[in-house]
Symmetry: C2
Subunit: 178 residues, 2 copies
């Protein structure tokens, strides 16, 4: 089991809609006190929506933070007290319009643990049926449904520049080829 340190002090520096920033002092495994500013995030989920015909539903998503449209898997932030698989089901429908008969948790990982505690839950969504999307006001998203091998080729041609999407596609590629 991983060592878990003790938080001895925490100070709220900033509250925003999607995250908070705190300053925390933690006693590390070697017994030293270290102080860091940390972005606290409620966690998120990302889905690999695999169609019965072997295609995958990616999205084009305009991202203000990097001022560009990225090719991503559908994903979303956990609402307060929401179990991640509920977020996953909701976001799949909202962002892509697809409903999934089956959603399986594959892994959970951290995105930038030097500064950010965001934990990303990775799901495989299958048994998909098409329906209406429920994109939020101002969400600039469109579906990009491609053959599986094309999605993997897009990763290694460098066209996919989003970490959770690269992890999700390569993880499922291993499942499909194993």
């Amino acid at each position: 089991m991983a060592f878990r340190g003790m938080t001895s002090m925490s100070e709220l520096l900033l509250k925003t809609k999607k995250f908070n920033v705190v300053r925390e002092t933690v006693r590390t495994p070697s017994g030293k006190d270290k102080t860091r500013e940390i972005v606290r995030h409620p966690g998120a989920c990302v889905l690999v929506p695999l169609l019965d015909d072997g295609r995958v539903c990616l999205i084009r998503n305009f991202r203000i933070s990097v001022n560009a449209t990225l090719i991503e898997l559908p994903a979303g932030t956990l609402e307060p007290n929401e179990p991640p698989h509920v977020t996953a089901e909701r976001e799949l429908i909202e962002e892509t319009g697809y409903r999934a008969a089956k959603i399986e948790l594959l892994h959970a990982f951290f995105l930038s643990p030097g500064i950010l505690d965001e934990k990303m839950h990775l799901y495989l969504a299958s048994g998909l049926s098409e329906g209406a999307t429920a994109r939020e006001e101002g969400e600039e998203i469109e579906n990009l449904v491609v053959p599986w091998q094309e999605a993997i080729d897009m990763v290694f041609r460098g066209e996919i520049k989003d970490a959770k999407t690269i992890v999700g596609l390569l993880w499922v590629d291993r499942l499909r080829s194993g």
Copy 2:
């Protein structure tokens, strides 16, 4: 080429040692103005240090943000005006003690583009020779040198919970098997 929006307004909300938080309003591709709080980060690099005998040098790294020791690839934050390959060379030595005869850029990707602009540059480091580390005061890091296939197995057993490390290992696994 990806669309790039126009920043019409930016307000600094918080300055910390490793990142800033800003509130920005951007005109999106569809012509709407959207306002978001964004964590601005100078960018970072991560290395896959591949030994001549086929082993890879991972590290165990205690992370305050998630209060746990994670298994990661060596990585570090860009200093102001520092080209990423210089950061990569420096961090490899500081964190692991290994010097690389060759460092190649493989890809660059974003870690959490919904809230964070951090861009991670992925390098393959080869021609390694062992030397002294120069870990910063308070860095709690130790080397974990494992056979290549064991590192890949650690990914798929869920033991590696860091996005940049999963991307780095699976990217180089493809190069090695292709």
